[in-house]
């Protein structure tokens, strides 16, 4: 009987996750048909596709993980104090602040990124102010740089970092903090020895929710970047939809998935937390 309850979820996963994945795996070892016509492939079980694709796009792979790591660290640095303030210091404004964190989700991810392109653009307000203050030269631009791409990702994934950390912090029993004070801990020590360890599940969940989509993201790099800041997501997009080279795109997708899975497993093992949130 309990297994029956799993049925809808399992069916959903089989149809929309397992089957496409099998299809993708099958596609990844195909090669171009003899006719060389665009989009025509035959199954030849060529596993070297993986090696070829990885070799050719190793820079984009590396870049994706570096950008994702930077965005995750930045988001953590911004989100932790924010979540802390909402959980402990916001008083009656708690709900309003939480709504403000979620508010960006009411508009499309794409529109927000395009908006950043305008805000940071050559004739946008940010560049104008920085130029007037002589903080940047007349020819310096912010968009179309790796800086803009990492900033865009940090911004876009910030709520995914903030909410789990907030949930963890909010659950902390205030008596534990009082007890720490009673034992002559100052604020810093209490944070280090009590608050932070108890918020670890939120930190782990937040970093995963940021890092995983950020590593596969292509929107920020496409809109805010330049040709030298392209990420692996852009390559997969281009291979699937521009060149119509399904096998390479599929092989890259699998490689990305496997790499993320390995990194995440190591990370969860090392962080020593079993529960997420």
């Amino acid at each position: 009987m309990p297994y029956l309850l799993l049925l809808p979820g399992m069916l959903w996963l089989i149809i929309f996750f397992i089957l496409p994945l099998v299809n993708l795996a099958e596609t990844s070892t195909k090669t171009r048909a003899a006719s060389q016509e665009t989009g025509e492939f035959i199954q030849t079980w060529r596993f070297a596709n993986y090696l070829d694709a990885f070799k050719e796009y190793q820079p984009q792979f590396t870049r994706s993980f570096i950008y994702a790591l930077l965005a995750t660290l930045l988001a953590l640095a911004i989100a932790y104090p924010l979540a802390y303030a909402i959980a402990f210091k916001s008083g009656k404004y708690k709900n309003i602040l939480l709504i403000l964190v979620i508010a960006p989700f009411f508009t499309s991810f794409l529109l927000r990124t395009i908006a950043w392109k305008q805000i940071l653009g050559a004739e946008g307000p940010v560049v104008f102010v920085l130029r007037s203050l002589h903080l940047i030269g007349p020819d310096t631009t912010i968009t179309a740089t790796s800086f803009a791409v990492v900033m865009g990702m940090t911004y876009n994934f910030l709520p995914f970092m903030t909410l789990p950390i907030y949930a963890s912090l909010d659950r902390i029993d205030p008596r534990l903090l009082e007890a720490s004070g009673d034992l002559y801990s100052n604020g810093v020590t209490t944070f280090r020895k009590v608050t932070f360890p108890l918020s670890m599940p939120g930190v782990v969940a937040g970093t995963l929710l940021t890092f995983i989509p950020a590593a596969g993201d292509y929107v920020n790099a496409a809109i805010l970047g330049n040709p030298t800041t392209k990420m692996i997501g852009n390559v997969i997009d281009s291979r699937f939809f521009r060149i119509v080279d399904y096998p390479t795109a599929a092989a890259l997708s699998f490689t990305l998935m496997a790499t993320i899975l390995i990194l995440v497993t190591i990370y969860i093992r090392r962080s020593g937390t079993d529960e997420l949130v």
Binding site: Q36, A122, D237, R242, I243, V244, D245
Partner: protein
């Protein structure tokens, strides 16, 4: 400030509108399909027989490129299309959905292969891509006599290698790829690739993701004629040139038709772009931009209207295509888009609209202008893949 932002906002609003109109359009088609089913028609998909397909009628969904049809910014409407809709009673949903040939093909090819509706009854694609559609059987042949204005096509375009006798495609516009620049920031203009890739433009240059245009210009700069059978080595030489510009940070982005946005907001000061685009953009922005064919040579291309095999709206789609081969309508479009007009008699009609445009070499090219441009030669499917991959890799993806 508001002036500078307005085209962007406008584009966003337009995108929203287009999506809404798309949904409305889809609804209309759905209704038609249901009605057709009630009427006893058993086949309703693209696999329906020719006659059944021709009988079906409804909204014509047309995919075209941005800035490619006369647009009235005050009323936000396409005057020539409005006139046609009022006169014929045929509803047309016009969508600026083609940003790049490869990108568009990538989006619809899965549906085309399965013969499922791709959401368009007319598509407008460049010669080489139109050739691919015809080769793969994705374009319907026009009905005999359904497009009487077809005879107005310029003799040079009446017979093309990819569609002998123009059985299933008709030229929409032709145009040139060359240099576009912001006159306020670059008053000296741009005549050569060296001037385009000048240090002072670093990071604010954009080139077309349309491989044949960007590479066609680089090849000619390196002394290779892209209309002749050049070798793979020569092509890869030109790729190396592009790679170097990307690595040096000269090129901001390799883009489809959306490079226009970046010219307006100042992100791009100079581009490899399309003639008519730059002229119509300039007209909308107080003459801020200019265009020139490179000294070493530009490219000449044509876009073609076709009816996908997945459309069951052939009759109305043909009526739309026919309308735009009327010389007066063609002149009306050309006066806005500033592209090479493929219709005989349009030049005389243009005299009535604007005699200056009637003498523009970019709309009605003279021999001197045509001598400066080349048509990129047809590529074998194998070359098409190899070259496209190399070009994508040089563009960063």
């Amino acid at each position: 400030m508001t002036d500078k932002l307005s085209p962007e906002t406008r584009a966003l609003i337009k995108a929203q509108l287009t999506r809404r109109r798309f949904l409305a359009g889809a609804g209309a088609v759905g209704a038609t399909a249901v009605l057709a089913a009630c009427g006893g028609a058993t086949k309703e998909s693209g696999s329906a027989s020719e006659s059944a397909a021709a009988e079906a009628s409804g909204t014509v969904r047309w995919a075209n490129w941005p800035a490619y049809l006369d647009f009235d910014s005050a009323s936000k409407k396409y005057p020539s299309l409005e006139t046609f809709i009022a006169a014929s009673g045929i509803d047309v949903v016009y969508k600026e959905d083609v940003n790049d040939n490869d990108e568009f093909y990538g989006k619809v090819q899965g549906q085309l292969k399965l013969n499922k509706d791709i959401g368009y009854d007319i598509v407008t694609l460049t010669d080489w891509m139109a050739g691919r559609w015809i080769r793969l059987g994705y374009a319907q042949e026009f009905d005999e006599g359904a497009i009487p204005n077809k005879e107005n096509i310029l003799p040079t375009l009446a017979n093309v290698g990819f569609d002998p006798g123009r059985k299933s495609s008709l030229t929409w516009q032709s145009g040139f790829a060359g240099f576009g620049w912001n006159k306020e920031l670059l008053p000296g203009g741009i005549k050569s690739l060296d001037q385009l890739f000048d240090k002072k433009n670093k990071g604010r240059i954009e080139v077309l993701s349309e491989m044949r245009d960007t590479m066609g210009i680089i090849l000619q700069y390196q002394g290779v004629d892209p209309s002749q059978p050049f070798t793979e080595d020569q092509f890869m030489n030109a790729i190396a040139f592009l790679e170097k510009q990307v690595a040096d940070g000269m090129i901001r982005q390799v883009k489809g038709n959306d490079y226009l946005e970046d010219m307006v907001n100042g992100d791009a000061v100079a581009v490899i772009g399309w003639s008519g685009d730059i002229f119509s953009l300039s007209n909308e922005n107080d003459g801020k931009f200019d265009f020139a064919i490179p000294e070493s040579g530009g490219t000449l291309w044509s876009d073609n209207t076709m009816i996908p095999t997945t459309s069951n709206n052939k009759k109305n789609a043909q009526a739309v295509i026919n309308n735009y081969y009327d010389p007066a309508v063609a002149a009306q479009v050309a006066a806005y888009v500033n592209y090479v007009c493929p219709v005989v008699g349009a030049q005389a009609e243009m005299e009535k609209i604007d005699s200056k445009l009637a003498n523009s070499p970019f709309i009605f090219p003279d021999d001197a202008t045509l001598a400066k441009v080349r048509v990129f030669r047809p590529l074998s499917p194998e070359e098409e893949t190899t070259f496209a991959e190399a070009f994508a890799a040089a563009s960063g993806n």
